[in-house]
Symmetry: C2
Subunit: 153 residues, 2 copies
């Protein structure tokens, strides 16, 4: 995600492209996956914490940034590479990759129709030990992290 993309998304949508917002956009543009709001705050001295959070929230609402939840419950921001997608998060190194699985969406929509009402959103995160970290662990995941332990819902 380039700075220009972000600026374009703010401008002409009824939002004002102010100096503090621009500082935040410049700070996050070009970042890779997996950054925290605090990191952004630290990178824009002089811009208030509230403004940083407000700007991140704005971007998330506009779909320009996604906010996900790690294995331990802590939030991270990342830029979406594709449209609708889900995350694979390595619980060891934090690397995030995306996946799209239209079949999952289809299954969920069937579910909504069948019994639960109208689906208004969903949250799917898959926690993995990535290939690189698997090598470090000797070819298998940490034994103390059984499938779905503590996080499945």
């Amino acid at each position: 995600m380039t700075n220009n993309d972000l600026v374009a998304a703010i401008e002409g949508q009824g939002y004002r492209l102010t100096a503090p917002r621009l500082r935040v956009l410049e700070s996050i543009a070009g970042r890779d996956t997996n950054f925290t709001a605090e990191e952004v705050c630290a990178d824009v001295p002089g811009v208030g914490r509230a403004t940083v959070f407000r700007t991140l929230k704005l971007l998330v609402e506009r779909g320009l940034l996604c906010k996900m939840i790690l294995h331990d419950g802590s939030p991270r921001y990342s830029f979406p590479l594709t449209g609708h997608h889900h995350h694979l998060v390595c619980v060891s190194c934090g690397a995030i990759t995306e996946f799209q699985e239209s079949e999952i969406e289809q299954l969920l929509s069937q579910l909504g129709v069948s019994k639960a009402g109208t689906i208004v959103g969903h949250r799917i995160e898959v926690y993995v030990v990535c290939p690189t970290c698997q090598v470090r662990y000797g070819g298998h995941a940490k034994p103390e992290l059984p499938i779905s332990a503590g996080v499945s819902s």
Copy 2:
């Protein structure tokens, strides 16, 4: 979930069934879905906050309680009615129902094998407007809550 079930799960697992723990178990036993840690704290005066959180965490780790995340990111505890399952959470009234979808698990495991390493856990929450609340909204979901807005991952 009855108190006896909880007590049985703590006893004989190397954990001690102490008076404060018992108070917490009694407080949550018989609760329905969707309670917060604060509600439990308020219900067991004299028991320290830390002990309440520690006990809830213990139960979650043991699989006797599940912790999920609402649409707005706030955590809630509920008792699992079935084994492995996921939640349908009404964003209007907070009602929680469970669903099981083995096809989703299958899709995810295929995903892990194909490219992402070893899956160690996942988090799936589906946010809905339940049938009861749909009636209240005139037969359709709140327009300001588009599918996946701000929460899909």
